[in-house]
Amino acid sequence: MKVKASKNWKTRFWAIVKYELLWNIRKKKFIGVMVLAFALATLSLVLPVILSNIVGQQLQRNPDYVVNTGAGIGGLGMFLFAVAIAMNSISGEFESGTIVPLLSKPVSRTMVFLGKLLAAFITLFSAYAILITYIAVGGIVVYGPQNNLHLLPLSLFGTILSTFLWIAIVLAIGSLSKSSLIAALGTFGIFMALTISNPIISMFSDQAWILNYVPGNGVTGYMVGINGQTLYSPGIAVSTGTDNIAANLIKYVLYPSSNVTFFKSIFTGQRIQMVELYTEPLLTVLIRSILVALAYILVFLAISWYAFKRAQILE
């Protein structure tokens, strides 16, 4: 048979997406993270039921459980998903030598890169959609009818955007180092450095605003006066970082005209005094975090793409 290899880019592009998707969903790391995520979600649903049975009290209905819980996988969860999906995506091909037959096919490196990105997006989207649906169904079963379920797609969008920032970091380090281990450890190093330094800078520095422009949790402020006040919190907490886009999207829909006030903590004798620093609209916080996330994603993906495109295949 005479095969007429065609220049149809769609067929070739989807071949790369399929190639990568099959890898993503069959990876032990990814399966492990999914199992862990489901186990934690199940635990968060079941544990209150068990405890209420033990203490003999009926579990109270919580119509906001799903929108609060499903409004974002935590920072660590995003980091784990990002690493599980992306740590082998480019660097693993170099390490295993599978990059050689792959790049000898009539697909440009840019197409391979974009195909891998799309596969990462599809994997992430599917994983989060399943997880959020699971939490929603579980929440209804355990806590009764839920409010604002229509906001869950916003939560999905925000969580994917936040996680994609970590994916971009993993890909950039992986493309530059061509090592999955360095990609994972490098990203973990950044994650830990930001996680540890964040609350310290946030609480005690006058320059906490700088955390608005680095990946992670950002600065924590409060929507003062809009319920949620406690002895330690003057209102609903709002973290401004790129990890909190999903939660802030939902807060913005629920409280569109609210402001966020930021404080600095000062030790005065034996207690901590909170000194007001500045206030800004929640919308500003939200738009800034989205733009910062997009900027980082573009920069890290550009680095990754350039490194991949210029890489010489010595393996």
Binding site: V3, A5, K7, G97, T98, V100, S104, P106, M111
Partner: protein
């Protein structure tokens, strides 16, 4: 004449090491061209440049008439390439890999349905195509490597050490496969460090050593480049000085040595001169018991080329 592969002054350096040094390579279309050299000679580096996996530092590279500069997927549409010890994603099944690679060539579903089973059958993987590649032996991965190189019915097939890591039976099968592929009118560029493999399969050969091409021609012409390219061993019924003297007068004989009743005749030609020699022996009163034409092996030619090349070892 347009060549399937043509390089002019191709040079590739890794830091201070020159892996390929001003290589001029011409591979005619519809030939089986061996690319022969020891490990580290620069064969794989050259091939990776041809396929676009590495960038040349200097020189011109043309593949199927296209000058290679940068990432050129349109050229790779016409090439089938089997890497040295190919590594494929272990999480894919054999047929999945071929199906995905075939899609990368833009092949239609019907083409894939026809081509993939045919290739699996050809390389002897029929029945194992649903296994994960992680369960394949080295030989099976090698066969899969050949199959994926032929998916697109390529004009040019580049095989980098196709027998590496195979058992003797596998090696014979691969050689047979290569001959069959060539029958279908393709150009095959086969890199190998196994002299006998090139000798048995190829019509043309380029010998490379330390990144430098030492010779490039048909196998016959490569043999002929060296004097005394063939040796004729004759056993007589009895020793005869008259026969020795008579044979030495032939212009195509460079030397005759006699050891008891056995003559070793070094020839300057690769033409079959046994009729003239046997006539002359009989005319000189000799009686021939046996006659055996022993050609110089490629191994001997290769060693001679390397020693004459002056390339620093």
């Amino acid at each position: 004449m347009e060549f399937a592969i043509e390089t002019i002054g191709l040079t590739k350096r890794y830091g201070s090491l020159t892996a390929v040094n001003k290589l001029n390579l011409k591979v005619k279309r519809n030939t089986i061209h061996g690319f022969l050299g020891p490990n580290g000679a620069g064969k794989t580096t050259t091939i990776k440049i041809l396929v676009g996996l590495l960038r040349a530092d200097e020189g011109v590279v043309k593949v199927l008439g296209h000058e290679i500069c940068g990432d050129m997927p349109e050229v790779r549409l016409k090439i089938g390439y089997m890497p040295e010890l190919p590594k494929f994603p272990k999480h894919l099944r054999g047929w999945e890999l071929l199906d995905i690679y075939a899609r990368m060539y833009g092949m239609t579903e019907q083409e894939r349905r026809e081509q993939i089973p045919k290739l699996l059958d050809m390389v002897g993987l029929k029945g194992r195509e649903k296994d994960f590649i992680g369960k394949y032996s080295k030989g099976m991965q090698q066969r899969l490597g050949i199959a994926q190189a032929l998916l697109n019915d390529p004009e040019l097939v580049i095989l980098d050490e196709p027998s590496l890591g195979l058992d003797p039976v596998g090696m014979v099968e691969v050689r047979e496969l290569v001959r069959n592929i060539a029958k279908e009118g393709r150009t095959i560029f086969l890199s190998s460090h196994l002299l006998f493999e090139v000798e048995q399969v190829c019509t043309h050969v380029t010998v490379i050593h330390k990144g430098v091409a030492l010779a490039s021609d048909t196998l016959q012409n490569i043999y002929s480049m060296f004097s005394g390219t063939a040796v004729l061993q004759v056993e007589l019924a009895e020793p005869s000085d008259a026969v020795v003297e008579a044979l030495k007068r032939f212009p195509f004989i460079s030397n005759v040595e006699q050891e008891e009743n056995k003559l070793t005749i070094e020839l300057k030609t690769r033409d079959d001169v046994r009729p003239q020699i046997s006539q002359e022996i009989i005319r000189s009163g000799g009686v021939i018991v046996s006659m055996n034409l022993k050609s110089r092996t490629l191994e001997e030619v290769f060693m001679q080329l390397v020693s004459k090349s002056g390339v620093e070892k």
